[in-house]
C-alpha cells in the first residue's frame, strides 16, 4: 500500500469507548416504564391510555418545538423527553381532563427542563415539576380518583376526560378514594396483596408495585439506575413507619402498607433516580434517599396531604447539589500515609 498518501486521524486518547451512550440509557428507561404503562391501561382502560399518550406527546412535542424556536437541533432523539412524558402521565389520575394533561406536559418540559438549559441542567425531575404545577393549579381534578377495573373501562371514558379547556370538569361518575386517603382520613388499611398487584385505585401508573420493581431491577442490572437510591428510600420508610406503627398501631400503618401505597414505588424507583437531579457519590445518594424516606413518612403521617412522595423528591432534588458538595469522595493520596507492616 502507499503509506505516503495516507491521511491519518489525529485524536486524543482514549481511543476506545465503552459503547454506553446517553440515548441508550434513556431509551432503556422508557422500555422499563412500558410494562408499568401497559398495566395502567389494563387497570384503568381507555382513560389511562389517553392520559399517558397525551402526556408523552405533549412533552416530546414541546421539546421539539422549543428546540426549533431557539434554532437548536432537536433533542428528542435522546429520549429524555419521552421519559418525562411517560413518568408525568403515570402520576396522573386516569380521569384527568386531557387538556390539563397536555398543559402539564408543556410545563414539565418548558419550566422543568428547558428553562434551565435542557437535559443535564434540570435541578428537578421535570415530570414532577409538571405534576406539582398541575397540583397547584387544579387541586380538585388532580385528586379525583377513579376506580380501577370497572367493567366498561375499555370502551367508556369518565366524563371528565374530554372536558373542554378551561371548563370546570364534572365528576359525575363514581369516584373513589385511594388507599392512602382512606388510611389518612378513614383509618382504613388496604390489603397488601392488592396493593402489590395494583388492584387498587390511584394514579395511572402508581398502582402495580411488582412491575415497577421489575423495571427498576432491569435498569439496575444494566447499571442504568443507581439502586442505592430506592434502597435507601425503602429502608428509611420501613424503619420509620415500623417505629411509629409500633407506638400507635391504630393510627399509623405498618411499613408494608407505606411501601406499597401511593406513588412511593414509582417515585423511588423511577423519579428519585433521575440521574441529573440526584447526587453522584454513593454516600451522597444514601443521604439523598434517606432524606426522601423521612420526608415521605413525615408528610404522609402528619402533613395536610395524603401523599408526600412528589414533594419529598422535589425537596431532595433541591438538596442534591449540596449533598454532593458535602460528600466529595476522598481523593487518593490525600488521607495521609497509611503504613501497614
Amino acid at each position: 500500500m502507499n503509506l505516503t498518501q495516507k491521511t491519518l486521524e489525529i485524536r486524543t486518547s482514549p481511543h476506545i469507548l465503552s459503547g454506553m451512550s446517553t440515548d441508550t440509557i434513556m431509551r432503556n428507561v422508557v422500555y422499563a416504564l412500558l410494562p408499568v404503562a401497559a398495566f395502567a391501561v389494563y387497570a384503568f382502560g381507555l382513560a389511562a391510555a389517553l392520559v399517558i399518550s397525551v402526556s408523552t406527546i405533549s412533552t416530546v412535542l414541546t421539546e421539539h418545538v422549543l428546540c426549533r424556536l431557539t434554532k437548536k437541533e432537536s433533542t428528542i432523539g435522546d429520549w429524555s423527553a419521552a421519559i418525562t412524558g411517560l413518568l408525568y402521565g403515570l402520576t396522573l389520575p386516569p380521569g384527568l381532563p386531557l387538556w390539563m394533561v397536555f398543559c402539564g406536559g408543556v410545563i414539565a418540559i418548558a419550566l422543568g427542563k428547558f428553562m434551565f438549559g435542557g437535559l443535564g441542567y434540570n435541578p428537578f425531575n421535570p415530570a414532577l415539576v409538571g405534576r406539582a404545577v398541575m397540583q397547584a393549579a387544579f387541586p380538585v381534578a388532580i385528586t379525583t380518583w377513579h376506580p380501577a377495573f370497572t367493567t366498561d373501562r375499555f370502551y367508556n371514558l369518565p366524563d371528565s376526560t374530554l372536558t373542554l379547556p378551561f371548563m370546570a370538569p364534572v365528576f359525575k361518575a363514581v369516584t373513589t378514594a385511594t388507599p392512602l386517603a382512606q388510611m389518612k382520613f378513614d383509618h382504613k388499611i388496604a390489603d397488601s396483596y392488592d396493593l402489590a398487584m395494583g388492584f387498587v385505585s390511584g394514579s395511572t401508573g402508581e398502582t402495580c408495585a411488582v412491575l415497577i420493581l421489575l423495571g427498576g431491577a432491569y435498569l439496575a442490572w444494566r447499571k442504568m439506575m443507581n439502586w442505592r437510591i430506592p434502597a435507601a428510600i425503602f429502608l428509611t420508610v420501613i424503619v420509620l413507619s415500623e417505629f411509629f406503627h409500633y407506638l400507635k398501631p391504630e393510627i399509623y400503618p405498618d411499613s408494608l402498607f407505606m411501601l406499597l401505597s401511593g406513588g412511593l414505588m414509582l417515585g423511588a424507583v423511577f423519579m428519585a433516580t433521575d440521574m441529573v437531579a440526584s447526587p453522584m457519590t454513593s454516600r451522597g445518594v444514601m443521604i439523598y434517599g434517606a432524606l426522601i424516606g423521612i420526608l415521605v413518612v413525615v408528610i404522609r403521617l402528619w402533613g395536610g396531604l395524603p401523599e408526600g412522595v412528589m414533594y419529598a423528591i422535589l425537596i431532595a432534588n433541591a438538596a442534591s447539589p449540596h449533598i454532593d458538595r458535602l460528600v466529595q469522595p476522598r481523593v487518593y493520596g490525600t488521607g495521609g500515609v497509611k503504613r501497614k507492616t
Binding site: E9, H15, T22, M280, S282, P329, K340
Partner: protein
C-alpha cells in the same frame, strides 16, 4: 513445581475495557530487520536530552555509546546497529514537533556483532555504581513513561524502601509485550531484580501480574531462584492497575501522597520489561539497542511481538507488518493512554510499547454524539484517583481552571482515560483536563 495462584487483590474503582490481547499474547517475540535508515532522537526520555558524542560521517559499532547523559535526569544512547552516522539534524517526533536526532545508516552486510562493555557484578558493585551503570545503559521506564529508571532508584537521603514492586500488570488493552517478556526472559528478570534490590535496599520483591497472564505468573513463580525473597501476586483484571499508584494500593494498601513519589511509602515500582533489560544488559556492560513492541490492531496483517531496534521508522515497520489500505488511526502505546500519530516519519523510541493500527471500520463506525453531562456518575465510579471528573468537566467548559485545581484536585489526575472511556455522553473529559493543566502551567510559568 505446580503453584496454586489465588486471584484476589485489586484497587478500588477502574474500568474493564475489552482486553483484545488474544491475537498476539501467544506469539513468540520475533526479530525485526534493520531499516535502511534509523533515526535516534536525543530526547527519548523525560528530562534533559542526551549529548551527542559522534560526528557526521563517523562509523559506529552496534552497541556503541553515541550520546551521553547530560546531567542526572538524562540517560545515554547507543547505536542500535553498526553503520555510519549520516546526519545530526532535526527530525519530527510523533506529534510532529522537530527534535535533534542522529540519523544512522546501518551497514547492509555487517554481522551486527554487539560490542561488549565492562560487566557489572550485582554482588560486588556498590549501589551507586549500579545506578550509574543503569544510566549509562540508557535505561528508561519501558512501560511507556520513559522516565530514566536510575533516577527513581536513587533513594533520597532519609528515606528507605522495604518492597520492590515489579510491574507485570500490562493493563492496557492490545499490548502483550510484558506478557511475552515474562514468559521468555525469566532469567533476565530475576537477574534484574538482583540489581534492583541491591540498589534500593528492599528486603522483598513482589511481581504483580493480572489474571489474564496466569501462564506467566505460574512460570515466574516456579522459576524464582532459591533463597530469593520474591513472590508473585495475581490481580483481577482491571484498568488502570498498571499505574504505579494503583499497583501500590492493590498490593500494599498504601497510598502515595498527593504530589509525592512511591518512595514516600517505602516502595519503588519498576516495569518488568525494564527489569529484564537491566538483567540482560548490565552483566555485559551494554546499552539499550532494541525493545519488544506489540504490533497489532485490525489494520495490520502480521500482528505480533517484535524486537524492534530503537530508531526504526514507523513507516518501515508498518510496511513490513503489512498495513492495510484503509488504515485511519495509528497510535503508540495502548488504546487508553496511547498517542495518536499524525505522520509516519518518526522512529520508535525507548518508551514505545506498542503500535496499534485501526482501520476506517473502527473509527468511522458510529459518529459519537456529545451530549450534556447527565450526572450518571459513571466517571466518578471509574476514576481510580477518586476525583470528580463530571464536576471538573463542567468547570472546564466554563474555563474555571483554578477552581478545578484548588477544589477538585485536577493535578492528581494522571490522564488514565477511564472517565472518558465510560462517559455515555462522550464528553472528552481527559482532553479537557489536559488543556486545563496546560493552561494552568502556562499561567504559573508566566507569573
Amino acid at each position: 513445581m505446580e503453584t496454586t495462584i489465588t486471584v484476589k487483590k485489586t484497587f478500588p474503582h477502574g474500568v474493564h475495557p475489552p482486553e483484545a490481547k488474544e491475537e498476539t499474547h501467544h506469539l513468540k517475540i520475533r526479530r525485526f530487520p534493520f531499516a535502511p535508515v534509523m533515526i535516534l532522537p536525543l530526547s527519548q526520555h523525560t528530562g534533559k536530552p542526551s549529548k551527542a558524542m559522534v560526528r557526521e560521517g563517523q562509523e559506529v559499532a552496534r552497541g556503541q555509546k553515541i550520546a551521553e547523559a547530560d546531567g542526572f535526569v538524562s540517560v545515554a544512547l547507543h547505536a542500535p546497529a553498526s553503520g555510519i552516522i549520516k546526519r545530526i539534524a532535526l527530525a519530527p517526533n510523533p506529534v510532529g514537533r522537530m527534535t535533534p536526532s542522529i540519523y544512522l545508516q546501518p551497514f547492509p552486510a555487517s554481522s551486527q556483532e554487539v560490542l561488549e562493555g565492562t560487566p557489572i557484578d550485582p554482588d560486588t558493585a556498590s549501589p551507586d555504581e549500579i545506578v550509574k551503570a543503569i544510566q549509562d545503559a540508557g535505561i528508561v521506564g519501558l512501560g511507556g513513561a520513559a522516565f530514566p529508571t536510575h533516577v527513581k532508584l536513587k533513594i533520597p537521603e532519609g528515606k528507605f524502601v522495604d518492597t520492590l514492586i515489579i510491574n507485570g500488570v500490562e493493563c492496557e488493552p492490545y499490548l502483550t509485550t510484558d506478557h511475552r517478556v515474562m514468559l521468555e526472559q525469566k532469567d533476565d528478570i530475576f537477574m534484574g531484580i538482583r540489581y534492583l534490590m541491591k540498589v534500593t535496599g528492599a528486603q522483598r520483591t513482589i511481581i504483580g501480574i493480572e489474571a489474564n497472564k496466569l501462564d506467566a505468573a505460574q512460570e515466574l513463580s516456579a522459576a524464582i531462584p532459591a533463597g530469593m525473597p520474591v513472590s508473585v501476586e495475581v490481580f483481577k483484571v482491571k484498568y488502570p492497575q498498571g499505574a504505579e499508584k494503583m499497583l501500590i494500593k492493590a498490593l500494599l494498601d498504601r497510598e502515595v501522597p498527593s504530589g509525592g513519589l512511591p518512595v514516600d511509602v517505602h516502595t519503588v515500582v519498576v516495569n518488568v520489561a525494564t527489569a529484564a533489560e537491566i538483567g540482560r544488559l548490565l552483566p555485559h556492560g551494554r546499552g539499550i539497542m532494541e525493545r519488544v513492541i506489540t504490533i497489532t490492531g485490525p489494520g495490520v496483517a502480521k500482528k505480533g511481538n517484535y524486537w524492534i531496534p530503537i530508531g526504526t521508522p514507523v513507516r518501515y515497520v508498518l510496511e513490513q507488518a503489512g498495513a492495510k489500505d484503509n488504515i485511519s488511526l495509528v497510535f503508540l502505546g495502548g488504546p487508553m493512554m496511547g498517542q495518536a500519530v499524525s505522520n509516519l516519519d518518526f522512529p520508535f523510541t525507548k518508551g514505545t510499547s506498542g503500535l496499534v493500527v485501526f482501520t476506517e471500520a473502527e473509527t468511522n463506525s458510529k459518529p459519537q454524539k456529545i451530549y450534556p453531562c447527565i450526572h450518571c456518575a459513571y466517571c466518578v465510579d471509574a476514576c481510580p484517583m477518586f476525583l470528580n471528573p463530571s464536576q471538573m468537566g463542567i468547570l472546564a467548559k466554563k474555563e474555571r481552571y483554578e477552581e478545578m485545581a484548588e477544589q477538585y484536585n485536577l493535578f492528581d489526575c494522571f490522564e488514565c482515560g477511564a472517565c472518558s472511556y465510560v462517559c455515555p455522553s462522550h464528553i472528552p473529559l481527559v482532553q479537557y483536563f489536559r488543556v486545563a493543566k496546560g493552561i494552568l502551567r502556562e499561567k504559573k510559568a508566566a507569573s
